[in-house]
Amino acid sequence: MIPTAAIVRIQSPHWRGFRLWIPLFLLWIPILLLSPLILLVLLACCIAGGIDFFSAVATFWGLLAGLRGTDVRVASNGSHVTVSIL
């Protein structure tokens, strides 16, 4: 399943923090429309590099789908930064 949203949360003791919700699913619409072009470019790159096209597509799709569930939390000096991909 491809990621649909990302949440960036920044908290600091010195100023009011914020929480940003990024709707990644909105990005999929232009990507879907441009997919024939993207696939053509990928095919050209695969032919130039001597790489199996279907393996490349499967790998990139795996990378995209694997992003879901990634969570990074950093805390330092009382400040907290969280990035979550849903």
């Binding site: 590099g49 490349a56 330092s76």
Partner: protein
Amino acid sequence: MNEHRRQILEMLAAGKITAEQAEKLLTAIEPEHTSVPVGEYAGTIGGATAAPAATIKTRAKYLRVLVEADESRTGKKGLSTVNVRVPMQLLRAGVRLAALIPQQAHNQFDEALSRHGVPLTLSQIKPENLEELVDHLEDLTVEMNGAEGNKAKVRVFCE
């Protein structure tokens, strides 16, 4: 009484099996002694109904890296922490991506790594190697002591 237990007791009553054999069979079907073979990856969970010593192997979904550094190391007030959760699916895809890299790029990458003191051969990283690594990576803790006595702790585990 579940069906398996009833069958064992009926076989014992009919004299088809001995009491010892029945005991072994009953022990084997008891839930607290059941090891569920749902994956080859490390990961131990304790269920609410499970016996304390019981472990159930589950397929690890995430790799978690925790880094903790004290004030003396970072120069910042309080404990600094980094907590990263990476899906195993992303790691596997990354390893497959490494397999797509052409051989000449592999050589350049290996040379660059060895120049920086990392004796790693990119072509040897395969999905099966990653799974073997995960299998053994239950909980790895590395404590680093700096020259000035400052400390950082890195913990890597699968969950």
